[in-house]
């Protein structure tokens, strides 16, 4: 798997992502600064990691979505490339128009840093192949703007086409308001593009891939990717 992690000014979870990708694939990913206008040849996964790109003083991810490298990422996606956006990366994907909807201020109006549980809503995708549908996993979340919003039409399409990847749930897998800390529409934590190759989610599976850090709940996302891309 030739993974490329894009580093924007203010990105801060690129090392966490690199650790997770290397743990799953045995290969160090390439870190690419946002000023580049092309992806390295042979790239088969682009990751937009977490952080506060450009300080997120405008809408989160809005400026990063205009970075030089993002045209190359759009082209890569248009050709069927795999793109994962986590936290700020998810925000950038929505700002870049690669995924629908927007990430609003958390309903609590506070930054939320805690473990959350997510139910896997669709298995068999490059990002979820190693989970059963309905499986529940834990991951840290750490964001101020994670409240997923989209219009009713988009919501119907996401639900109808099975493009909701993950929903916030209780540890037992129940979809409740209490489990939905940031106030996301219908507890949506992560979504997929129609071709299932682009995935954005707010929590950080990359921060839970080592028993020493409290568990390996996040690892299946990365082992799924390794297997999918090896056979792609």
């Amino acid at each position: 798997m030739n993974a490329v992690i894009i580093v924007f000014p203010g990105t801060n979870r690129e090392r966490d992502m690199a650790i997770a990708l290397e743990r799953a694939s045995g290969r160090k990913p390439t870190l690419l600064f946002h000023r580049a206008d092309a992806l390295p040849a042979g790239t088969d996964l682009v990751v937009l990691p977490g952080g506060f790109s450009h300080g997120d003083y405008l809408r989160s991810g809005a400026m990063a979505a205009q970075s030089p490298i993002m045209q190359a990422v759009r082209d890569f996606a248009a050709k069927g490339g795999h793109v994962l956006g986590v936290c700020n990366g998810f925000q950038i994907l929505t700002e870049a128009g690669l995924l629908p909807g927007a990430l609003l201020r958390n309903a609590t109006l506070r930054f939320l840093s805690m473990d959350c549980h997510m139910r896997v809503e669709r298995s068999g995708t490059p990002y979820t192949a190693h989970w059963q549908k309905g499986a529940v996993f834990r991951a840290p979340m750490a964001h101020g703007d994670g409240n997923y919003f989209c219009d009713d039409e988009t919501l119907a399409r996401l639900n109808g086409e099975g493009l909701v990847a993950f929903r916030y749930s209780t540890p037992a897998g129940e979809i409740t308001d209490a489990a939905n800390r940031n106030g996301a529409r219908q507890n949506i934590a992560g979504i997929l593009s129609p071709n299932l190759r682009i995935c954005g989610l707010m929590p950080h599976p990359e921060d839970l891939v080592d028993p020493l850090m409290g568990g390996t709940d996040g690892l299946p996302m990365f082992t799924s990717l390794v297997e999918s891309l090896a056979t792609a």
């Binding site: 000014p9 203010g10 990105t11 650790i19 997770a20 506060f52 300080g55 930054f111 750490a142 020493l212």
Partner: protein, 739 residues
């Protein structure tokens, strides 16, 4: 062009010097050093360099008595931060610093820039910051403005730390009315660097370029250091313009750019522009190197138009660094800073004059000899008055009004013991992917070093009510508790940073508190091989004449050779609970006495440093042998609170033995005797036997299991209801909602 600076009118200068905080005799010294009346810029430079904040003029004579050496200490106090050898060719670089006054005036920005400032102190030495902690003291929540202060400080720490991507992994919070008009915000950063790649601040090389990088200079924070060196009055809100505004995004870029530059060999010396900004950084770098420095203000990147030399030299705009580069390397260095979209400007050069010369618009605005600016800086051995000793209380002579379980339920929900989840849920504690023990999971935070087995344990500690009652015992206790908390996760404690928060040093009783606290700290540091490698002093923490509790906050760092050895505090079922250390039932200054009996009285518990070390070394050895499933030190609230905290961590209860015959039960359950740990182990008898062989008091006091805490008389309370009381307090207070 090289004429002398234009002196102020003599009477005007004298009046201004007083406004800038210089005493009359200090101003006379300025006149004799210069041999003339100073210019405005010169007066500004003298007043900030000789402020309490920058000169440590009241505290230095005492700080010198602290032990600062050990074989593992690479750089002790005097650099931007302390540096210790942690093995594997790496150094830990760390410091704690206060931002008390700004955080009261403007809580969000005050706390945020406190975090920014301490981060710069650490990465300026070549370290990548890997952990932040904060030690906070707030007033009574019902005090005017206090909820706004609590909310703003927590948001500010989170807003800055979360954005720069350094995990906030621990800290401590106390509440006491003594902080109503003067809360404390002490921020600590720990960073990691190769031990042979440490960057220092002493300038060298006549003619070498002086380079300014980072944010532009504005008019914010002018005279911040002076403000931080005076008491508050009721009009403190009017001082808001002295508070700086933080930009964590620029700080993040500055970290990356500086670390990229530090990977080359271009830097001679580097220092952040902290308190007193360009003044202190240029004066200290040139002074330490024994060289002169000439700066051209026209070249300083400026955010506003029409700034004067005085304003630029005194500005405390954030996210700026000053560097001395090797000659001819400016273009290479500039390319790195431009990549990160940061300002880069050559603003001067080093000279052989031994003077700092400031030029602006072809006029010399200041010309000061550096040697006397430092050597003749005021140094005071202020009068001290000893704090009167308090009586030792006898637990048996104090009535227990409620019994142990009702007291426990009250205590775990009290402000000083309730869950801090509302706070740490706003701090990103996992960014970096190396956080082994997060807030609430263990007695100290544990952060692994990327790519290695090795981990650091980090804690902050101080018990201000002990320090108020007996500053010497309290100073020793703060150091001992930090050592104990590191030990309780299995780490070998290495060194501390101290953040000395006190009232007005011109009052003998306050100076006496300071001197006594230092005495106690020094004794503990020596006995525990736990030297001071960096620190910060914050005096004049008074509003309208009322001083805070003396608060010598200690930040401790220890090392674990293998992160997998770290233990947390959560109980699991089926384990023996073993109490290590002797219990006399010391209720003086205990939280039980304050919260249950309504009394703040008595002598605080003494720390027997030899016993402390013996007990701690015993516990650490057992942890590293893998015999301990969970460990928690006994601190605020005593034994029963410690059991409850271990139980609440994972929802596992325990059945506890009766107090030993002859002891007052409330003394046994809630006494705050020092040097104690509670261990959860599979074979309690073996542990007790090992303890006896080592001459360490130990006894099995219970067994884990079930969902309740059950006492020997059959009375019980569910862990769930304890948790409810524990978790409800801060959300109810701050959000008006249940947990």
């Amino acid at each position: 062009m090289s004429t002398a600076p234009t002196s102020l009118d003599a009477a005007r200068a004298k009046q201004l010097s007083a406004e800038f905080g210089l005493k009359a005799d200090e101003y006379d010294r300025v006149l004799s050093i210069l041999g003339r009346t100073p210019s405005l810029t010169e007066l500004g430079i003298f007043s900030v360099m000789w402020s309490e904040h920058c000169s440590y003029k009241s505290s230095r004579v005492w700080l010198r008595t602290l032990p600062t050496k050990a074989p593992w200490v690479i750089h002790g106090p005097g650099e931007n931060a302390g540096v210790i050898d942690i093995g594997d060719g790496l150094a830990a670089i760390f410091k704690m610093e206060s931002h008390n006054h700004p955080s009261f005036i403007e809580p969000y920005q005050g706390a945020a820039t406190g975090v920014g400032g301490i981060l710069r102190d650490v990465f300026t030495m070549g370290a990548r910051p890997i952990a932040n902690l904060n030690a906070l003291r707030f007033g009574a929540p019902e005090a005017p403005r206090m909820k706004r202060v609590i909310d703003g400080v927590v948001r500010g720490i989170g807003g800055y730390g979360n954005s720069v991507g350094v995990p906030t992994v621990g800290g401590e919070v106390n509440f006491h009315p003594a902080y109503n008009g003067n809360p404390l915000v002490n921020a600590m950063t720990v960073g990691i660097a190769p031990k042979d790649r440490i960057f220092l601040s002493a300038a060298a090389g006549i003619g070498n370029p002086v380079v300014y990088v980072g944010s532009k200079t504005g008019r914010d924070g002018i005279h911040g250091a002076t403000m931080a060196s005076a008491e508050f009055s009721a009009d403190s809100e009017e001082k808001r313009p002295t508070v700086q505004i933080g930009d964590p995004f620029t700080e993040k870029l500055l970290i990356e750019a500086c670390l990229e530059l530090m990977a080359t060999d271009m830097i001679v010396a580097i220092q952040d522009m902290g308190a007193a900004g360009l003044t202190s950084s240029s004066v200290e770098m040139a002074g330490k190197g024994g060289v002169g420095i000439e700066l051209v203000m026209d070249n300083v990147p400026q955010r506003e138009q029409g700034m004067t030399a005085y304003e630029m030299m005194l500005s405390e705009s954030q996210e700026r660094m000053l560097m001395i580069l090797k000659p001819g390397r400016e273009a290479e260095a500039q390319a790195i800073f431009h990549k990160w979209e940061l300002d880069f400007a050559v603003i001067g050069h080093l000279t052989d004059t031994g003077h700092i010369v400031i030029r602006h618009k072809d006029v010399v605005e200041a010309d000061i000899p550096l040697a006397p600016l430092e050597s003749e800086a005021p140094l005071y051995r202020r009068p001290t008055a000893e704090t009167p000793k308090r009586a030792v209380l006898d637990a048996a002579a104090i009535a227990d009004p409620v019994g142990p379980l009702a007291a426990l339920e009250t205590l775990v929900g009290s402000l000083d013991l309730c869950s801090r989840r509302w706070i740490w849920d706003q701090y990103d504690s996992t960014v970096g992917g190396q956080t082994v023990k997060r807030p609430g999971g263990a007695d100290a935070a544990v952060v692994k070093l990327d790519g290695l087995k090795r981990a650091l344990a980090i804690t902050t500690d101080c018990t201000p009510r002990y320090c108020q009652a007996d500053p010497e015992a309290g100073g020793a206790q703060a150091v001992a508790e930090a050592w104990r908390n590191l030990t309780a996760v299995g780490a070998t404690p290495l060194a501390i940073t101290d953040n000395m928060n006190f009232g007005n040093p011109e009052k003998p009783e306050i100076m006496g508190q300071f001197a006594a606290a230092v005495r106690g700290m020094a004794a503990a540091c020596t006995a525990l091989d736990f030297p001071v490698v960096s620190g910060n002093v914050s005096l004049y923490n008074e509003t309208e004449g009322r001083a805070i509790l003396p608060t010598p906050a200690i930040g401790g760092v220890g090392v674990l050779e293998d992160a997998a050895h770290a233990v947390g505090l959560a109980l699991t079922p089926g384990l023996d609970l073993v109490l290590v250390g002797a219990t006399q039932g010391w209720l003086g200054q205990s939280l039980w006495l304050r919260e249950i009996a309504g009394r703040e009285e008595g002598a605080p518990p003494p720390v027997d440093l030899a016993v402390e070390r013996r007990n701690g070394d015993f516990v650490r050895a057992r942890i590293l042998e893998g015999q301990v499933a969970a460990c928690h030190d006994l601190a605020d609230g005593g034994l029963l609170v410690a059991v409850a905290e271990m139980a609440m961590a994972d929802g596992t209860g325990a059945t506890l033995a009766a107090p030993p015959a002859g002891q007052a039960p409330h003394g046994w359950w809630f006494g705050e005797d020092q040097g104690r740990y509670l261990l959860a182990v599979t074979d309690g008898a073996a542990l007790v036997a090992a303890a006896q062989a080592a001459g360490v008091p130990a006894a099995i006091i219970g067994r884990s299991g079930g969902g309740d805490l059950v006492l020997a008389d059959g009375s019980s309370i569910s862990v769930a209801s304890l948790r409810m009381a524990h978790e409800a307090t801060l959300p109810a207070l701050m959000e008006g909602r249940a947990a």
